[in-house]
């Protein structure tokens, strides 16, 4: 299912499927989180987070630093165990004993703030590690897919380079390709442009925009408000471990309900004026 979806993305630049935003809620739920509670030691970080990610939906998570955005993403793919609550992937309960997280994580791609490419492997080997060693795919076939993705993000000529030879923006595009080549059902992005020089932010965001426009299911944590507005189907605004607002982007950005969200957005308005 996701295989064919990824393939379509790969092959069909012209026949891009137009997303029908109103019907998103009717689509099957890919990730369902119910009342997630997570603490580190004594400190409660997530205080009951419930959210659904529908097939083809782009969910953008924003909120002040330290509110638990990264923690939420890391809970979704099991990098952090949760204290209570439930997580489902495609209707299957993950938060029960005996879950094979290695299998689950193949369906949930993740991209990190600091790329986390493997420094001892070149670009192609970075990308192929998962498909070949984890998914046991044939090398030629996997390589073909990897090359197609690399071409799409404009890095086919860097397949033999080592991470240290790439710019931040290039590294992050490789990291995205590495996750995509696993053909995941959903991708998690954790502030993937936060470590980049400003002139490289765009090239990475453009890749993500094009993935969104072709129907990839994504959960994106970002501080790029313009990008959030453009890419999101739904925004959740988190503060102090709670989801404070959950709304479509136009509603959230134009008429935030809570004063906390207003205050948060004002911070960026101010920044925006200074930038101009």
């Amino acid at each position: 299912m996701s295989e064919t979806m990824i393939e379509n993305i790969n092959l069909s630049k012209q026949e891009e499927e137009q997303r029908e935003k109103p019907s998103l809620e009717d689509r099957p739920i890919v990730i369902c989180a119910r009342d997630i509670v997570k603490s580190f030691g004594e400190r409660l970080i997530l205080k009951g987070i419930s959210v659904n990610v529908h097939h083809g939906e782009v969910l953008v998570v924003i909120g002040p630093s330290g509110c638990g955005k990264s923690t939420l993403l890391r809970c979704l793919n099991g990098l952090e165990p949760i204290d209570s609550g439930e997580i489902e992937l495609d209707g299957e309960l993950l938060t029960k004993p005996g879950t094979n997280w290695n299998l689950v994580r193949q369906k949930i791609g993740m991209v990190f703030q600091n790329y986390e490419l493997f420094p001892h492997l070149n670009v192609m080997d970075n990308i192929l590690l998962g498909p070949i060693k984890v998914q046991k795919r044939k090398k030629t076939e996997a390589k073909q897919k990897a090359s197609a993705w690399l071409e799409r993000v404009g890095l086919l000529d860097r397949a033999d380079s080592y991470p240290r030879e790439l710019s931040g923006g290039q590294k992050q595009r490789v990291a995205i390709v590495r996750a995509l080549t696993m053909a995941p059902e959903v991708m998690l992005f954790d502030e993937v442009t936060a470590s980049l020089d400003p002139e490289m932010v765009r090239e990475v965001l453009d890749v993500m925009l094009s993935l969104a426009s072709q129907g990839l299911t994504m959960v994106i944590v970002t501080h790029e408000m313009g990008f959030a507005k453009a890419v999101a189907d739904k925004i959740i605004f988190m503060d102090e471990g709670h989801i404070v607002e959950n709304a479509p982007p136009d509603v959230f950005f134009n008429n935030p309900e809570t004063s906390r969200a207003k205050k948060f957005l004002n911070m960026f308005e101010f920044k925006g004026i200074k930038k101009v």
């Binding site: 990098l79 290695n102 994580r105 986390e116 493997f118 420094p119 998962g130 060693k133 984890v134 696993m182």
Partner: protein, 218 residues
Amino acid sequence: MDLDFAIKCIPLFWAAGKLTVTLAFFGIILSLVIGFICAVLQYYRIPFLKQLAGIYIELARNTPLMVQLFFLFFGLPRLGILIPGKTCAIIGLAFLGGAYMAEAFRGGFSAVGKTQLEAGLSLGLSRLQLLRYVIFPQALAVSLPVISASTIFLMKETSVFSIVALPDLMYLAKDLLKEGHSIESNLMLVISYLVIILPVSLFFAYLERRARFAGFGS
């Protein structure tokens, strides 16, 4: 200085050197295996085995090789366990070296960032695959200088083998000393150890350079 005598002794030193190298080789290979296993047990915090590894490391590092060999060679037979001398030597060296190699690998493992592990995990790698494809290659580059130093240290430690009556280089030199050729046998001894250990040093220096060129582990 009796050069003729020295030259005449070359075959003897060759034979003794071969024994030293053989024992060192197997002892060090084994110590790498033991060290790696201990480091993995500690790294993955395997309950019980982790503590066992810790006790072993302290025991091995804080007792002299000579004492360890005495135990194997003279102590165990009292308990009815007879181990041939060469095996004793290899076991002793591996026992000592394992602790040093464990420390070397531990340093390498801990230098691989937690976020690298998470990147590997999020690709669906199992813990074993993570170790093999992500952690170990990076850790090795970091561990290499310590592995190198430990290897050379262990090669020099082999000179203790003579006390359990193994005809290694040291044993031979002591033998010749008794015959009164102190200068010659000393010189040959120095040369023998140099010939054996220097190439190993150079080889490790080369490996370290390559690891640095590869641009990780530093």
